[in-house]
C-alpha cells in the first residue's frame, strides 16, 4: 500500500492491567529522531483494555499523537484481535513506518500484520536510522547468532515495519504530555478470535523470571557446575533484588529452566547491571546481554571472551567471590 502520511508509529503493547510494557515507551526515544527525519509525527498506538496508564506514559515520553483502541477483547493478547485492530488502523491512517517491541507478543503480531499488509518486516532490530532523502529506515539487526549484523531496508513497500528488541533504547525523561489523543472504536467479535486461553500457569515455584524488565541480572553458566551451583547466584540476586539468568550451556545441562536463558535462543536483556558468573561468553550469549549498562564477569579462565565485554572482570572462583560479595552488600545495606 501507499503511505498516506509521513508519520512513524510505535505500537505500545500493554499489560493486562492497562499499563504499557517498557519496550513501547523505550521505542518513543528513537522514534522521535526518526519521525523528525521522515518529516512526520511520532504516533503511539495503544491497544488494550483500560489503558489510561499506558496512554499517559506514551504522552509523557514524547508521542505527538496517540491512537487508542480500548476494549475487553484486547485485555489478554490474541493474535487475531490485535492483528485485526492494527491492520485496520494502518489501512485507515497509512503511516510510513511502524515499530513494534520484539516481545513474544510483538514477534507473534509483527509478521501476521506485515504479511496481511503485504509489506516488509525486519525482526529484532538493535539499531535504527533513517535516510533523510528517501525516508527509508535502516533497520540493523543481528544474524548468525550475533556473529554478524545486517542492515535491512524496505524501499518500495509501506509501511516499513520492524520489531525492536527490548532494552536496546532507554526511556526518555518524563515531561508533561501534549499529545493529541484519538480514540478509535474498533471491536472484534468473539468468533473472529480463534484461540482461547484454557489455563494460565505462572512460573512453577513462583519465581520471577522477568528478564527483559529486570534492572539487575545475575547469570550463571557452565562454570557453576550443577543445579546446586546456582545457589550462591540466587543468594546474590536476592540481596540485589535481581533476576536470575543463565547461559545456554547451563540450561542445556538441565540445571535451570529455559525461561532463565539469556542469549540468542533465550532472552535479549538490557539491565543496568549484568553479573555473569562462570559464563565463558560465547557469542550467542554476548548477543543477548551486551547492551547492558554495566557488565561484571567472574570467571576462572583469564582468556574467557566474556572479559572482552566486561566493564569489571574478576579472574577467580565464583564460589569464593559470590558469597563475599553478597555479604559485603548485605553489610552495606545494614
Amino acid at each position: 500500500m501507499e503511505a498516506k502520511t509521513k508519520d512513524l508509529w510505535v505500537f505500545v503493547e500493554t499489560n493486562e492491567d492497562g499499563t504499557a510494557k517498557n519496550v513501547g515507551i523505550e521505542l518513543l526515544t528513537p522514534g522521535k529522531m526518526m519521525a523528525a527525519k521522515q518529516g512526520g509525527q511520532l504516533v503511539a498506538v495503544v491497544i488494550g483494555s483500560g489503558v489510561d496508564e499506558a496512554v499517559k506514559a506514551a504522552n509523557e515520553h514524547g508521542a505527538d499523537k496517540i491512537i487508542v483502541v480500548d476494549g475487553p477483547e484486547f485485555k489478554h493478547y490474541t493474535t487475531d484481535a490485535y492483528a485485526i485492530a492494527l491492520v485496520s488502523l494502518v489501512e485507515k491512517y497509512g503511516p510510513t513506518s511502524m515499530m513494534i517491541g520484539a516481545t513474544n507478543n510483538g514477534r507473534d503480531l509483527g509478521p501476521r500484520v506485515s504479511c496481511r499488509l503485504n509489506t516488509g518486516l525486519t525482526a529484532d532490530c538493535t539499531a535504527l536510522d533513517v535516510d533523510d532523502e528517501t525516508g527509508n529506515v535502516a533497520w540493523t539487526r543481528p544474524a548468525f547468532g550475533g556473529n554478524l549484523m545486517a542492515t535491512i531496508i524496505c524501499p518500495n513497500h509501506r509501511p516499513q515495519i520492524g520489531t525492536v528488541r527490548p532494552g536496546v533504547f532507554k526511556k526518555s525523561n518524563a515531561v508533561e504530555g501534549k499529545a493529541e489523543i484519538v480514540k478509535e472504536d474498533i471491536h472484534v467479535a468473539d468468533d473472529q478470535i480463534r484461540t482461547q486461553v484454557l489455563e494460565i500457569i505462572k512460573d512453577m515455584g513462583g519465581e520471577n523470571v522477568d528478564l527483559e524488565g529486570a534492572e539487575i541480572i545475575v547469570s550463571g553458566g557452565r562454570g557453576v557446575g550443577g543445579p546446586e551451583g546456582f545457589e550462591p547466584i540466587k543468594a546474590l540476586a536476592k540481596e540485589l533484588g535481581a533476576t536470575v539468568g543463565a547461559s545456554r550451556a547451563a540450561v542445556d545441562a538441565g540445571w535451570i529452566a529455559h525461561a532463565h536463558q539469556v542469549g540468542q535462543t533465550g532472552k535479549t536483556v538490557g539491565p543496568k547491571l549484568y553479573i555473569a558468573c562462570g559464563i565463558s561468553g560465547a557469542i550467542q550469549h554476548i548477543a543477548g546481554m551486551s547492551s547492558s549498562d554495566v557488565i561484571v564477569a567472574i570467571n576462572k579462565d583469564p582468556d574467557a571472551p566474556i572479559f572482552d565485554v566486561a566493564d569489571y572482570g574478576i579472574v577467580g572462583n565464583l564460589f569464593e567471590v559470590l558469597p563475599v560479595l553478597t555479604e559485603e552488600i548485605k553489610k552495606a545495606r545494614g
Binding site: C115, D124, T151, Q196
Partner: protein, 267 residues
Amino acid sequence: MNILVCVKQVPDTTEIKIDPVKNTLIREGVPSIVNPFDGYALEAAARIKDKNPDTKIVVVSMGPPQATAALKECLSIAADKAYLVSGRTFGGSDTLATSYILYNAVKKIEELEGKFDAIFCGKQAIDGDTAQVGPEIAEHLGYPQVTYGLEAELDGDMLKVKKEVEEGVEIIGVKFPCLVTFTKPAWDPRYPTVKRKLAANRAEIPVLGDDAFPDIDTSRIGLKGSPTNVKKTFVPQRKTGGVKIQESDGRASAQKLFELLSGASII
C-alpha cells in the same frame, strides 16, 4: 491426523567464528544442521503420533539440493514423508516471499498427501532469527496461529498447546487447521534410530522446483519479489577497556569489586 512440519537446514551458528584479520564470518567447515527449533516442532509432532499412531508426519524444507540431508535426518527421527522445495527462482527470497512460496508448497503437497490438520514450525531459525516465516504462512493460509509452543496434544476437535509466555506458561486451545511454532521444551528430542536411518537413506525425496507451482505469482518470489533487502552486513564491534580484578584470593577480589561498584554508585 495429518501434520506438516516445516524445517530449515542452517549452519550450526555455535560453530561460526570470525576471521580476525578480514573481520568476516568464516563459513567454511561449519556443519549444516536441522534448525534446532524445527527439531522441537518435529518432536512435538512425533509425540502426538506416539499417542495417536495413525498420525502422518510430512516434512518440507525450502533450500538448495543439499537440504535433502536435513530432510533425511527428519525421516530418520520421526517423519513419514519428505518434500524439498528448491528452485532457482526462489533464491534471494526474504521472509515474506519465502512464506508465500511455502504457502504454495503446502497447497501442492496437500494435493498429494491430503489436507493437513496442523502445520508445525520452529519458532525461528538460528541463522536468521526472524521468527517470521511461521506466522506468515499462517496468514497466507488464513489459519489461526500459536507461537512459542512447548508441547501440543490432541483434545477432541482441538489442539491444546502449552505456550511459553513471559510470566510462565499458558494452555491455548485452537481449532484445526492451525499453525503452531515451537520453542525449546523441557525435554530433549528423540534420537534417530538405525532402522529409520537406513530407510531414510533409501527414501526418494520429491523436489518441488520452479515449475511445480503453475499458479504462483512470480512477482512475489525471489529477490525481486521481496519487500526487504539487505543493504549491508558487518561484524559487530566489541567494547574494550574493562577493569580486570585479580587479587590474591577470591575474598579480596570480591571486596575490590564491591568497592568499585559501590564507588561508581552501581550498587
